[in-house]
């Protein structure tokens, strides 16, 4: 999977949003709130191929959580991104 061209992570105060920017396949008026963990993952995988295993590994490295919980969190985050059309 990759982030779909045109989706950009932006910081608003202490929070994060992803908005559809640029022309092309992106709907310009969609916007999603990301929590800190999702925003961290987004920055790590921006511009490269990723899968659920990579996301889980990043969560383990960064947050020191156990592998099972990381795998579950990674799966739920990547499902949400895909459902929103932000990754493909």
């Amino acid at each position: 999977m990759r982030i779909v061209d045109g989706f950009v992570l932006r910081r608003v105060g202490s929070e994060y949003i992803v908005s559809g920017e640029g022309l092309g396949q992106v709907n310009l008026n969609r916007m999603f709130a990301l929590n800190d963990a999702a925003a961290y993952l987004w920055q790590e995988i921006e511009g490269r191929e990723f899968d659920d295993e990579l996301l889980a590994r990043l969560l383990v490295e960064h947050y020191g959580i156990d592998a099972d919980r990381a795998a579950a969190d990674a799966k739920s985050i990547s499902n949400e991104w895909q459902k929103a059309g932000m990754t493909a």
């Binding site: 949003i17 920017e21 022309l23």
Partner: protein
């Protein structure tokens, strides 16, 4: 050629057209913004030119200027330039075609169609020119209504038809000293001291109100029609998302979007932003006034604009 220089939100631009062009008769809303010195340096120039065909163009985007407006716009790439084609509401033909240089400093604008459609398209083209040329300069052209009261500007924004103008009219009626700064497209800018300033513009929709004035932004209020009046403070991300719906959506280039984001982020995180569920009545103003100023609306006041 005849040239006029205008200064809007402290950005200067030049309009250039033939001496006998009909456009000079339709610029009364720009007069308050005329700069005394027609030769001074400008950020960009809009020149009226005859309509040309550009066969080597590629469609990049097509849609509405604001998410809720009927004017249709197409954006094309033409060599290094951008080409904007504007269809006025209900019009089947391109009423304005504007070729912008890659640096957004030179715009060549051609108008066609009947006077109403051509002028409506000119109105949109001039706003697009201003937006794209100033987007990376801490400037945001909004679709909202700005009311000044007690030295501060309050911005009311909403989907078209919700009642922005109605609500700002109620402020003029019930709040002593409240007056509209601009009823459709005020401009926001981050000042050197970090405050957000609100400026009047030549673009004020159906309300003839073209004031070359500014005031610091006191609050931003998203209006929604409801059976009762209720005001809620928005979190920064909610305020940001809400503001997005009232700004030009054609800022597709990264540097424009970055500029727009910096202003919107600054507003969302430093200016109180609210959602006002409201009826078109005096109580709506009372509820809003109390939240915005911290004071109750003084009773027995019926002074104001109209």
């Amino acid at each position: 050629m005849k040239n006029k220089v205008y200064e809007v939100a402290e950005h200067r631009f030049r309009l250039s057209a033939k001496e006998n062009s009909a456009i000079w008769r339709y610029l009364s809303s720009y007069e308050p913004f005329a700069a005394a010195d027609a030769d001074s340096a400008v950020a960009y120039t809009v020149s009226l030119v005859p309509l040309l065909e550009y066969p080597d163009r590629t469609l990049l985007w097509s849609g509405s200027e604001h998410p809720d407006q009927e004017t249709t716009i197409e954006v094309y790439r033409q060599q290094d330039n951008y080409l904007f084609c504007i269809y006025s509401p209900g019009s089947k033909m391109v009423n304005a075609q504007m070729l912008c240089s890659a640096d957004f400093c030179t715009m060549e604008l051609a108008l066609q169609g009947n006077v109403n459609d051509a002028f409506a398209a000119f109105y949109s083209a001039m706003m697009i020119a201003f937006s794209v040329a100033t987007a990376d300069k801490g400037t945001l052209l909004t679709h909202s209504s700005a009311t000044v009261c007690g030295g501060r500007a309050y911005l009311f924004h909403a989907k078209s038809g919700t009642g922005k103008s109605t609500h700002s009219g109620l402020w003029r009626r019930y709040v002593a000293g409240a007056d509209v700064l601009n009823d459709d497209h005020p401009i926001l800018r981050v000042a050197a001291d970090g405050r957000i300033m609100v400026y009047g513009s030549p673009w004020s929709g159906k309300t003839p109100c073209y004031k070359n004035q500014k005031a610091p932004l006191g609050a931003m209020v998203r209006l929604m029609q409801a059976p009762q009046n209720e005001i809620t403070r928005l979190r920064a991300v909610e305020a940001y998302a809400s503001l997005t719906t009232s700004c030009l959506s054609m800022t597709w280039e990264r540097r424009m979007k970055d500029g727009q984001h910096s202003v919107m982020e600054r507003i969302a995180t430093t200016v109180p932003c609210y959602r006002l569920m409201c009826r078109p009545d005096r109580e709506a103003v009372e509820v809003c006034y109390r939240a915005l100023t911290g004071q109750p609306l003084p009773s027995e006041q019926s002074a104001g604009g109209e």
